[in-house]
Symmetry: C2
Subunit: 127 residues, 2 copies
């Protein structure tokens, strides 16, 4: 596994993080990473329904801003959130953004809400 270039924690800039997160597709990537922990970039891109090059562009912006770390294993790339780095640099920022994203997510893109509802129904049905 090779770590792709990223800013050191002390060099992560607030304005860059806010700019990286000021896009609905990138917010969606971050929300999914928060839920999944780590994601294969190809699979994540397919799930987002955007072109591969568009997805790569968004991943790069998130990585260069210091929001995600990306590890490469041969032709595969894996992303994860830099939770602890962001928390140490900007306490409470990422949790507040994730909360806001969850609160105001468009219903049509919110698979997690759909699956949560489905699993709640299944769970209620099994009682």
């Amino acid at each position: 596994m090779r770590l792709l270039p990223q800013p050191a924690t002390e060099n992560i800039q607030l304005t860059e993080v806010l700019r990286a997160l000021s896009d609905p597709v990138r917010l969606e990537i971050v929300a999914r990473l928060a839920a999944a922990g780590q994601m294969n970039c190809t699979v994540a891109g397919d799930a987002l329904g955007v072109h591969k090059s568009t997805a790569s562009h968004h991943y790069r912006i998130l990585r260069e801003a210091g929001v995600v770390r990306t590890e490469q294993d041969g032709r595969l790339k894996y992303m994860s959130l830099r939770h602890e780095d962001l928390e140490s640099r900007f306490p409470g920022l990422l949790p507040a953004i994730l909360t806001a994203t969850t609160l105001h997510r468009a219903p049509t893109t919110s698979e997690s809400t759909v699956s949560a509802t489905a699993s709640a129904r299944a769970s209620a049905g099994s009682r």
Copy 2:
């Protein structure tokens, strides 16, 4: 006093707020508003050291994103943060951004850090 056009609280978008705050001058305006409560736009622009038209541009972006409210009284305009509106829509977001701004403010613009250090020294010296 006439309130300039602004989005209703329920129409404030996270991506617009993050984009509005992804600029160092606008972050500085927001930090100063947090400290001052309300500011005369002309005075605030002079203090920022940017051209009047640049300052107006930044104020407009902050207002249209829903970050500040602006009231006009004749030729004078007054800005204040939409603290409660933002808190109800995105809990914890503005406080986290203000904390991060205070923590990582550039020393040259950080009057509060300088005065805090000076007062800490004075306090240490007086013991």
